[in-house]
């Protein structure tokens, strides 16, 4: 299938007085319509910055220093063209048209993403009125319809509610309604269920899957929770220190992970196979210093496989194809091949 978005060698750096933080350092992936790509990583791995870079809302002093973000779109004749979002001025009319219309985003804490002084309905209608040519009345009807689709009871009444009048789960549903009202081709979901309870989380994940089937949008799902990623994704990208460690279809990644980091991460969650009250596998050490520039594998100091091998630390290597749609960037595997 033709990807709707291609990210190539994306590098987002934060240039500070103390040095440069390479938040995203050479990330490549593509998103296909109707599919979900999960990005999983620990805090500080740079996973959220990828989403921000696509929408061109990386907060300063962060800057996209290299790479391409190719959004596929049709021109006036209907021929497919590719627009590189990196070349776009983030404040331009063009960029504003893309946000919300082609690419929409939902955030972790819906309370902070809604304006507290406007009703939920007026905020959904605003998105619609900016991007499409509809009348006030039609916009309202569409908003009600959308609220109904995301499973909010009494949408005709709730449309006039303020965000604080809704519960956490309902607010996240309203947020999804706002994101999807213009029928975007790409939805970026940055930890959308982290603030919710498990039963509500299950509802929201189910809703996203159902809406994806109906609208066929591609979802970029960012989370630190391995279980959530396993449930919603078709493909998974494991990120560590701003770099891609492993990219694989979801069943391959969870049943046959190859990168030592992915393996360690999966083992550190207690599962049904883990005997109770036994010691869990841990990843010793901590993330490298954010200002460090590491040419080789950033995981080398904590890796149980290489134990600080100098080739792992110093040699350059690339994300290498290892199986059908399965890519790994581990020097021990990539250089040997």
């Amino acid at each position: 299938m033709v990807p709707v978005l291609q990210v190539e060698d994306l590098r987002v750096h934060f240039i500070l007085d103390e040095g440069t933080v390479r938040a995203v350092d050479g990330v490549t992936f593509s998103l296909e319509p109707g599919k979900t790509l999960g990005i999983v990583g620990e805090s500080g791995s740079g996973k959220s910055v990828i989403g921000q870079a696509i929408l061109r809302i990386v907060p300063p002093p962060g800057r996209i220093v290299q790479g391409k973000i190719l959004l596929r779109s049709g021109n006036h004749n209907g021929d497919p063209t590719q627009l590189d979002l990196v070349t776009l001025d983030p404040h331009s009319r063009e960029a504003r048209r893309i946000r919300g219309h082609d690419v929409a985003m939902i955030f972790q804490e819906p309370m902070n993403s809604f304006s507290p002084v406007h009703t939920v309905g007026s905020q959904i209608m605003e998105a619609l009125r900016i991007h499409t040519d509809v009348s006030q009345e039609e916009a309202r009807n569409r908003a009600i319809e959308m609220l109904e689709k995301v499973g909010i009871p009494h949408p005709g009444r709730r449309i006039d509610a303020y965000p604080h009048e809704l519960s956490g789960g309902m607010r996240q549903r309203a947020m999804i309604a706002m994101a999807l009202v213009c029928n975007p081709r790409i939805l970026i979901a940055d930890e959308p269920t982290t603030a919710l309870d498990v039963t509500i989380q299950a509802q929201i994940l189910e809703l996203l899957k159902q809406l994806q089937e109906e609208f066929g949008m591609a979802i970029l799902f960012i989370s630190h929770n391995l279980g959530v990623i396993a449930e919603i994704s078709h493909e998974v990208l494991v990120i560590y220190f701003g770099r891609v460690m492993e990219l694989a279809p979801v069943d391959v990644l969870f049943n046959n992970p190859l990168h030592p980091y992915t393996r360690a991460l999966l083992k550190s969650v207690p599962g049904i196979d883990t005997p109770v009250r036994t010691q869990l596998a841990t990843i010793e050490g901590t993330l490298p210093d954010p200002f460090a520039e590491i040419t080789g594998c950033p995981f080398n100091a904590r890796c149980t496989q290489c134990g600080g091998d100098i080739h792992c630390r110093d040699d350059q290597y690339e994300l290498t194809k290892i199986g059908e749609r399965h890519y790994v960037s581990c020097p021990r595997m990539c250089i040997a091949i």
């Binding site: 509802q203 969650v269 990843i283």
Partner: protein
Amino acid sequence: MSEPQVFLEVKDLKKHFPIHKGVFKKVVGHVKAVDGVTFSMNSGETLGLVGESGCGKTTVGRMIMGAYRPTSGHIWFQPPNGEPRVDLANIEPSHMRSLRPYIQMVFQDPFASLNPRMTIREILAEPLVVNKIARGRELEGRVRELVELVGLKVQHLNRYPHAFSGGQRQRISIARALALYPKLLVADEPTSALDVSVQAQIVNLCLEIQDQLGLAYLFISHDLGLVRHFSKRIVIMYVGRVVEYAPAEPLFARPRHPYTEALMSNVPSTRPELVGRKIILRGEPADPINPPPGCPFHPRCLYAEEVCSQVVPPLEEVEPGHLAACHFKTTLNLTGCDALGCVI
């Protein structure tokens, strides 16, 4: 080791917070945060307390700590020094002060629970100084012992909390809780703010310390997988009440309350081939200000019948040691986690 004995018994514990409104702060209703909770704990054992946000699990922990005074009910505590057992729910503050060293707490957010203006040495020494346990060289010795017990180094003592990562801070707050040789540690979501790899380190540390010191844990969490790994017995709460109370193994093999079943099936699984066996509950947890009549879970329950909306089901034994509060606890054949095969 001697026979495990019941040292904490919580009986029909309730906490209702009044809602004030208007100029005269008239009481217009109550938030029934905890509405009849009963369980007991043996010394050296881990009890898991599980529930969604707003179910009252933290309030139970705080009442045991003495931070809130219960509206009604009892918290029977057996002091380890052989004194007669006391009811922490109705106790003189001066008496509570002498018992407080036995019960300590570890909080969820290690960024908020450590004073940023104190060094680690000061943080660890404070409980010892305040309770007049140690001073001078003895104090320094105990502080060093504590910091090594939780896997940090003596050199760390002069640093301030900001110099530590989340996992290290949580180690410090565990060390602080251990300073007074407690018998019970109330751990309120101790790993929720941490990354998975760090979470595993803290879980391991908690297990090690328990084996070493013979502590009992009241482990409050929303993470069923973690609770299963830790606990001998588990209490499941829903809107201020206990819905199920059982040893871990039979609970996961065959839950007796529909809420427990749904909760187990909702835990995200890392086995993608199992996705689909989910019980998606309708609606949201009941409002503790105005809980529905009968069983508080009945509006969301898949198996609810007419009786559920009328009569509150009592918490009763189904099998020895396995209690559930459901009208159909013996007849329903619910699917446990083991049968679902879910990795939680």
